[in-house]
């Protein structure tokens, strides 16, 4: 007898929201309308979306462009203070191990909006292999539709700046396979 798997789904946020909407009724809708009138609605990010290059400064003070043409880009959105995200970070280590042979052709970017020393500590762990971006102004959060909740977000962008993969789970082997595929494809 074996325990096969324990999975966590991302749909929960939607469910909680729908319950709250029922309780608060029109009030929430009114707040949403007023917020939406101030913030332009970001374009829906789906498989095949083209991403315009954006410059951002990483925690070392270097300017990097996301995505970078000619490179496969992996964006990893997370929150360093979130317990479940911390657990996922260990799986990220495993992904980095799996990408050892090809990591010169892939840009790995970890993004978090927390103003936190712990996030800066990650620099010592990942050294040059992972670009860390402290997105305090949530610039990238808005471009890539990430609203930090219970879930992380993984986005893979191909060499031509087209979104090829979006997920809220991290399976190192599966991600390695997808990255390999887009490294080899033109």
């Amino acid at each position: 007898m074996y325990e096969r798997s324990e999975r966590k789904f991302s749909h929960l946020g939607v469910l909680i929201l729908s319950k709250k909407v029922k309780i608060l009724g029109g009030l929430i809708i009114l707040i949403n309308i007023s917020l939406n009138s101030k913030v332009p609605n970001p374009q829906k990010l789906v498989y095949g979306s083209f991403i315009n290059q954006t410059s951002i400064t990483n925690i070392e003070g270097k300017e990097i462009s996301i995505p970078q043409e000619g490179f496969v880009t992996l964006l990893f959105f997370f929150n360093i203070n979130h317990t479940s995200h911390k657990r996922i970070l260990t799986e990220f280590d495993f992904l980095l191990m799996n990408l050892k042979k090809i990591d010169d052709r892939v840009k790995l970017i970890g993004i978090s909006s927390d103003k936190n020393e712990k996030f800066k500590e990650l620099k010592n762990i990942y050294n040059n292999r992972l670009h860390l971006v402290n997105d305090t102004e949530t610039k990238l959060y808005k471009i890539f539709n990430y609203s930090c909740g219970n879930c992380i977000k993984i986005i893979i962008i191909d060499k031509n700046c087209i979104v090829r993969y979006l997920s809220s789970s991290l399976d190192p082997i599966f991600l390695r396979e997808i990255i390999r595929r887009y490294i080899n494809e033109n």
């Binding site: 007898m1 798997s5 324990e6 749909h11 929960l12 469910l15 498989y47 219970n150 997808i178 595929r181």
Partner: protein, 358 residues
């Protein structure tokens, strides 16, 4: 008075009809003794075992999920690599179908695949709730988006069957529906079988542990729960005909223990929907005579797994051990014509022929 009499007659008719429906469902749960247990000559066993060793220089298999033998080819689904590797019967690599990704023809955590009689390949893209259709040579043909009913928005399809009317039977990893029927465009038609235990959202849940199969002769549908060991036979129309299982002390003890620990886990509320999926029984398989086989799995590698055999009507026939599998834990098995395919926990593939015990 005449109207009252008429009403009574109608009432009696419906009462008798409902009694007929109720008792037409045969229940054979926890059958203790197989009716052919002592008649060793009637037992079926396996011989001519061959280990299928694929050419690893061409294809490294990471998570062996399903094997289908179709004509002279062996199709192996690797869930993790999101590919179907195709070999000839001598284990020479021929080509692969699908690739990891989210675009048309790409696979993302494929849980199951089938090959129709016409030679079309249908792969269940579990995470994306889609079916990708390929030709037998691997050319992508079309994508079918499954439109799940709203009440099971959280469910992911895990098992697939297709009937001669090109309708899909779908089972899920976790859902209040055990089997649903969809048309060829992916639209939901109706539910055939419901789950009895409630689902906690958010919370810890026991997975559906579903496997669905067609009987060869009758075209009835068999649902098997590889945690509880309960089989359900459904008619072509989807009516429950028989519910059956065999009793094993160790299994009953494990089921109780797991259910208790799950109840404890359920008390600590955690966000999200969590699925605990336990495998106590292997996948079951049906031979060309509609005899049903299943292995009961054990914790220790030294223990021999026992194979339980049932008649097409769900009567427990006998249990035997297969000496060849001593120390090998079989968790999946399939039957294609004369070939029986066994997959071990260590991702080894064995092909064997069936014969009567002497």
């Amino acid at each position: 008075m005449r109207i009252k009499k008429g009403k009574r007659i109608i009432f009696c008719f419906f009462y008798l009809f409902s009694c007929f429906l109720l008792f037409s469902q045969e229940i054979k749960i926890n059958q203790k003794e197989g009716i052919l247990q002592e008649k060793i000559r009637d037992h079926i066993t396996f011989h001519k075992f061959k280990k299928f060793q694929p050419d690893l220089s061409q294809a490294v298999i990471s998570r062996l999920t399903k094997v289908i033998i179709h004509r002279d080819r062996v199709f192996i689904l690797d869930k993790r690599q999101a590919r179907i590797f195709v070999f000839d019967k001598r284990a020479n690599y021929l080509y692969s179908i699908g690739r990891p990704g989210q675009g048309p023809g790409d696979l993302e955590y494929p849980d199951d695949f089938i090959i129709s009689e016409e030679g079309t390949l249908f792969v269940v893209n579990s995470m994306a709730k889609r079916i990708e259709v390929f030709s037998i040579k691997g050319d992508f043909q079309r994508r079918i988006e499954l439109v799940l009913p709203e009440e099971i928005f959280y469910s992911n399809p895990s098992c697939l069957l297709i009937n001669s009317n090109k309708q899909f039977f779908i089972a899920y990893s976790l859902s209040s529906h055990l089997i649903d029927l969809y048309d060829y465009q992916g639209n939901y038609i109706r539910n055939l079988l419901k789950r009895e235990e409630p689902i906690l959202i958010p919370g810890q849940n026991l997975g559906n542990s579903s496997q669905i199969l067609f009987f060869n002769k009758s075209n009835k549908i068999l649902h098997f729960n590889h945690f509880s060991g309960i089989f359900t036979i459904l008619s072509k129309k989807g009516e429950v005909e028989t519910v059956f299982s065999a009793f094993d002390k160790a299994h009953a003890r494990d089921v109780t223990r797991i259910k208790r620990s799950l109840e404890e886990k359920r008390r600590t509320k955690k966000p999200g929907i969590r699925i605990s999926d336990y495998q106590i029984w292997s996948n079951c398989w049906i031979d060309k005579n509609d005899i049903i086989y299943v292995f009961l799995m054990f914790k220790n590698k030294d223990e021999s797994q026992q194979m339980f055999v049932f008649s097409p009507e769900g009567t427990f026939l006998y249990r035997i051990t297969i000496p060849y599998f001593k120390g090998i834990r079989i968790d999946k098995a399939f039957c294609y014509g004369d070939d029986s395919v066994f997959i071990s926990r260590d991702h080894e593939i064995f092909i064997a022929k069936k014969r009567r015990a002497k």
